[in-house]
Symmetry: C2
């Protein structure tokens, strides 16, 4: 549970941003931002925020849910003969403000055009990146929820390891993992699970399929849980089911070293690009730099990818309260891929690794 | 599997639409439309269609996948230092056409604004509803896939009935159903499963929670499977776990009659609003008209909600090849809700009900 005061505190922070931006009102259209600011988990609804105004414009399907999830927010339930756009226009007019922002990355071109047609006053201006920077710094309730999502994911991985057999398919392995996460209290997977056997692990977006686990000596597993309040975890481990070739052994150690060295460097005030460079340097020193073909990691929370970004061109700087993944990998088309991923909380003094599944190669073997 | 010729035939149909609309080219941005036209299941990619042009603009993560899924389509893989927008601008310029449409409901206001900024020529014009009407009429491959999705969902429901106990929670019941669908060949659920016990069944968008199945005499189950090619089914049945009150008996029969009567009327040339009216009339005749507070049904296929719409204000007309749900319901806040939903194919002579789970009240009882 996230207490109502917490949502109120987040809205106060947004109001300070509005003041700083000299924006008298804003229409929050992104569902995840609405959930972050109010706790409301429905859809087809917009949140109007302004001076003394905290109002959700919704419809009759959500009347009860709004009362339960965000009792502090004024709920405007549109009648069935009025559209969301029309009701929003009515509400904007009554605000008597000269301009109102709308989240331009969360609304389609078509919907924005229709909105501009029905709204005569105030002037609508596209805005973005107002709420996302707030979400990047996790509050204590969020950190507790993310810890719980990590626990659920780790318990489920142990369950997978205990029950997996070589004749199972990638899809069956993914399903076992999801079953495990629910068993340990998750609502389900936080995102589409990757269980990629052998050379399929070289595809960055492999979908679990009918390939059998035992067809190759190793399987890459990228998974995370989602808690009831919506927070996710995001982890990757290798599962070894066959003999360990010298290439697998060498490359695994390179990835593990790159991950451990880069995690050590994470702390408040450190640039994300510098941490990415540490991992990349380890790969280059072993002559496999180009095989690490994606960024080192990313922030997560209510979404599995959110601010910040760890990569060569990132301009983000770590701050206490951020939670990020660190997931270096090496990919060899036709051979396979290796990735290790942990979840890291930035603290005042440095960082705390939230995940604790063993990651030495020996512990990855299933017999 | 959907054969490549089928995707080619769909693209030919779109080209005829473009000709009719006097549109020399269009940028398809909606992922589901891209999947429908090409078989490509990735994301972050756009499909450019024009006279002699069938080109996907994508990135290196999808090189292999594009070759496997849509070998007939020209793939432009952008380099890592060029954005999707920039590469699209290059490709549009080389087309040498005066105007190009873009799918305005599938691209955010922000992305459209950026696109307009980088594209100098051709002129960009917002378009919508070009591909969706094609998708409303299912071809033989789609009908076969939908039949399979119905079979997977029905087998899973029988599995749920065979394994459900009264001490399970809604979440556990939903998970059993999903496990069953995978067991029978689905990639998973086609949408978020509803398992709503007792009064929770009165909430149109109830999420499965910790309520125990045996807490009330009945549970509403709304579920569907998704096949490997992406097609879904969408069914609703009641499960009775306690004694049948006279209200439950009466209201169940009203819903069942409304469903059976309205299905009978479905056939090519019939108006969707007229079929909706038949169901609504049955409710009204029994004095519960206002308790049926949503439309009668909707088309489905690659998405669980797509054209057409069965409702009082719908202007759609049934055509052979359409596949729709028929799902009347009655909802009493504080008491619960009843809904029965089947999947119906419009044929040349009338219709064929694709789903066949029993729906008399006695067959719904679990002891």
């Amino acid at each position: 549970m996230i207490p109502q005061q917490r949502f109120a505190a987040r809205r106060e922070k947004l109001k300070k941003v509005l003041k700083k931006e000299k924006l008298p009102a804003v229409l929050i259209c992104n569902e995840t931002n609405i959930r972050y600011l109010t706790g409301f988990t429905g859809d087809s609804s917009w949140l109007l925020m302004g001076d003394g105004v905290e109002r959700i414009i919704s419809d009759g399907r959500f009347t009860t849910q709004l009362q339960e999830e965000c009792p502090d927010i004024e709920a405007v339930i549109r009648s069935v003969d009025r559209t969301l756009l029309q009701t929003t226009a009515d509400n904007l007019r009554s605000l008597k403000v000269p301009v109102c922002g709308f989240e331009s990355t969360a609304i389609s071109y078509d919907a924005a055009a229709q909105l501009e047609e029905v709204v005569e006053t105030p002037d609508l201006i596209p805005v973005k990146g107002l709420v996302e920077p707030l979400r990047a710094i996790k509050d204590p309730d969020e950190i507790r929820e993310i810890r719980e999502a990590v626990r659920q994911a780790e318990k489920a991985f142990e369950y997978l390891r205990a029950t997996l057999t070589k004749d199972m398919t990638e899809l069956q392995a993914a399903f076992l993992l999801e079953e495990g996460m629910r068993r340990f209290g998750a609502v389900g997977a936080g995102f589409e699970i990757i269980t990629a056997v052998g050379e399929r692990a070289a595809l960055p977006h492999a979908r679990p399929g009918q390939t059998t686990v035992g067809e190759s000596p190793f399987m890459l597993v990228d998974w995370g849980a989602r808690t009831h309040t919506g927070y996710v975890s995001d982890l990757t481990r290798m599962i070894i089911t066959g003999s360990i070739s010298s290439k697998l052994q060498r490359m695994y150690e390179v990835v593990k070293t790159a991950q451990e060295e880069s995690i050590k460097a994470i702390g408040p005030g450190v640039r994300a690009s510098d941490v990415d460079r540490i991992a990349r340097k380890v790969m280059e020193d072993h002559g496999v730099g180009p095989k690490f073909n994606h960024g080192l990691g990313h922030g997560f929370g209510l979404q599995v990818h959110e601010a910040i970004r760890l990569g060569p061109t990132s301009e983000d700087v770590f701050k206490a309260g951020m939670v990020v993944t660190v997931e270096p990998g090496l990919y060899f088309p036709g051979w396979g891929g290796i990735r290790i991923e942990d979840d890291v909380l930035v603290t005042k003094d440095g960082n705390e690794v939230l995940s604790s599944l063993p990651k030495d190669l020996d512990s990855s073997v299933i017999r």
